[in-house]
Symmetry: C2
Subunit: 452 residues, 2 copies
């Protein structure tokens, strides 16, 4: 939807909601795609959102379910918390099990139990099974609905089976299994059209197929789909029995979420922090990180405090403290961004680590030599003090070396100790560059105090 | 491919390459998926990569073409630059026009002309047309091969047409056009199976379809595919004539590239800077940014220089310079990351801008009050100076306000003046927080100089 037409839709919807013109509201949204209604809700207050949602629910439950699919699970959970249990149960019965499995863990414990209990008169085995897999694994995001046929099925029976099978979410491949349910091959639905009616699937199925297991991390599932250009990937259990399929639309959500998380974790942000959140909720999420930053940021001042004697004698030395800090931070951020992103997209492991470290160190040293020399010369010209020029130059060279060294190591060490490579990496890095930068600069200043 | 099996493949490949065992090399890679061979090449030196590539080319040109598809176009261009023209021409003839269109602009001008000339004896109209569209638009990344049939085509003829049509890249939808070639509908290939043989397509085609035009920015194409859960999106020209299709595998590449670019541009990195690049090439890419940073980072030292008189009198004031700078930078990075990412994923416009700005300012002020008060109290306890506590506290509150204010405005202003919202945003922000933070802190210190 174009930004301008979204803007018009939002302002019309708000007018209808706030004047109670709910039939006009329904006429408006009824013409929109579910994804557009979902974007629209992001611009509404919570009260307005509830009115819109109830209007959808009362007019067409299928639309309400389609919109739920498109909204962030966190936002959906917020809406459902304000709904009566029978309404939630009804919507869940109409939804795909994988969509319900995404929302369920975000509901409060007591509501979750109440809903599961209320659903028990018409229990969904699929849903209960999905909920048993760990969050952020293939098992949790897969759809348990897919086309799978025995390898001996003939093309004619395959077509009949598909016609009888009804609607299966984005079915672009047909999976082939053996008598025990093991995944043995795949054919595209289009391939079926090319074959004679009496050909069994096993004669032309593709056996060189890529699958993941239920406990595979969703980011690895996404990398497989991206690397092998798939539109869906089959999920098997420990015995290679086909249990579900992850489709590419869910993969795009994972990739988007992964990229957001990397960027947010780098700067110590909670990945659920959103622009639409209330200020209070964002303060709650950011304050703990800032308090932690107060700790990491206190090392450099402590070092400066140790050098007040030097600064008292040569006050000029205070001038370049901000420059040493800023350049170290900027160069280190560059290295961190590259390493974090390469780990996310590529397969950066310890094989390529030494190479990466060596390379970044060389880059850091060369950049340091250039930037350090320029700063040193400028400083000499400005202050007419040869030694101050040397000191600031050397401090910058050393700090850009530290930035490259720590910028490479911090994400890799975080990964090695099984934390997210991006987690707070920028904070940790500036802690290193700020403190080592100030220490080198003021340390050298103290050493050559007599030369000023 | 698992990291461990990739590691084994890489070390075997290097052994075979460096001992000249090229038939064993071919046996090794022949068993791999093209995407895996592509990952493997990333761990080879340029010389090794050329030997591998020539081995592929000599044994099976189709495999060489498949691998080219999977490698970054930049890397492919590097390889091709070292190949004779007839080899390039041959590979290009075997490749899909959209893949060639991605590589072509990365070749040196004279080589490009020579290749186009050499291809002219068997010119590809499709390729020449694709090359006419602007880079990073739907026209440039679309495939000109797709299934399109007239709306009056019967189901039986549709199936025959598809059987005769041969292999079309990831054909999951069948597009429906009118007598003039205008796009009027879409059916999934599966839907065709459900209908009676004499039904014309127009009777059951979906007319409510999402399309983009040839000049649509590739990021907007990607957002459409993501929002509407598509696996392919049709591309039309100004007259609504169907001219191509963008498939979801290309969309995933765009989304990955977009996320990398946002992160890199935030920290002033060239988006082509890769971990595998030579140190020299990375230095060339990063040095200009660092020189620019030297300028932006020089404002804060200039301000400190103006206050040397104050610092000379109260050397304590130098101690908290790093703290004011660090906290402003950290808080500002958080705001920037949120705004940049929301612009990238969502539809953040001026409608939501005022709300976002107001919210970030409130968050900045509340966080500032908490962190500023804590720092003020700690400083009072450490230095036993009431006024220094007040000054550092107030400086931090003001700097966290500036961080929130500028962190929101910088990306939005960059977007308003048609630049990338992420471009150098972290540099610009730290320039603001560093200089305003130092100015507030030392300015207040000078104002209350008599109180120390």
């Amino acid at each position: 939807m174009q930004v301008t037409s979204l803007r018009i839709a939002v302002s019309s919807a708000r007018k209808f909601i706030n004047t109670g013109s709910l039939s006009r509201l329904w006429n408006l949204v009824n013409k929109l795609h579910a994804a557009d209604i979902a974007s629209l809700t992001e611009h509404l207050t919570f009260r307005e959102r509830m009115i819109l949602f109830n209007t959808l629910y009362e007019n067409d439950k299928e639309t309400a379910v389609d919109v739920i699919r498109e909204i962030d699970p966190e936002d959906t959970a917020q809406i459902l918390k304000a709904c009566p249990i029978d309404q939630i149960t009804e919507l869940f019965h109409l939804s795909a099990p994988d969509d319900v499995a995404a929302i369920m863990p975000l509901l409060p414990e007591d509501l979750k139990e109440a809903v599961l209990e209320a659903m028990e008169d018409k229990p969904s085995e699929d849903l209960l099974e999905l909920l048993e897999y760990e969050e952020e694994t293939a098992g949790r995001i897969m759809s348990p609905n897919f086309y799978a046929l025995n390898q001996n099925t003939k093309v004619s029976d395959t077509i009949t089976a598909m016609q009888l099978g009804g609607d299966v979410e984005s079915a672009f491949y047909l999976y082939v299994i053996d008598d025990l349910g093991h995944l043995v091959g795949v054919v595209s639905i289009r391939q079926v059209l090319f074959r004679r009616p009496d050909t069994p699937l096993k004669n032309f199925m593709n056996t060189d197929l890529i699958s993941v297991s239920t406990d595979t991390d969703q980011e690895i599932v996404a990398r497989n789909v991206a690397d092998y250009n798939l539109v869906a990937i089959p999920v098997v259990d420990a015995e290679n029995i086909l249990v579900g399929v992850v489709t590419v639309d869910d993969i795009i959500d994972v990739i988007d979420k992964e990229a957001t998380e990397d960027m947010y974790k780098m700067v110590s942000l909670d990945s659920t922090d959103r622009i639409q959140d209330s200020p209070l909720s964002s303060v709650k999420k950011r304050l703990p990180f800032l308090l932690f930053s107060l700790l990491t940021a206190s090392i450099a001042p402590a070092i400066v405090h140790g050098f007040t004697g030097t600064i008292e004698k040569v006050v000029q030395l205070a001038v370049f403290i901000p420059l040493v800090m800023a350049l170290g931070g900027i160069a280190g951020n560059q290295t961190i961004a590259i390493i974090v992103r390469e780990i996310a997209i590529g397969q950066t492991d310890w094989l390529s680590t030494r190479k990466a470290l060596l390379k970044e160190i060389i880059v850091g040293l060369v950049n340091g030599l250039v930037i350090g020399s320029i700063t040193g010369i400028l400083s000499f010209l400005l202050f007419n003090n040869f030694f101050h020029g040397i000191i600031i130059g050397v401090a910058i060279i050393i700090n850009l070396f530290i930035a490259a060294f720590m910028g490479t190591l911090i994400p890799l060490i975080l990964k090695l100790i099984k934390l997210d490579p991006a987690l707070g990496s920028v904070n940790l890095l500036t802690m290193c560059t700020d403190s080592i930068g100030v220490l080198t600069y003021l340390g050298l200043g103290t050493l050559f105090l007599s030369k000023f």
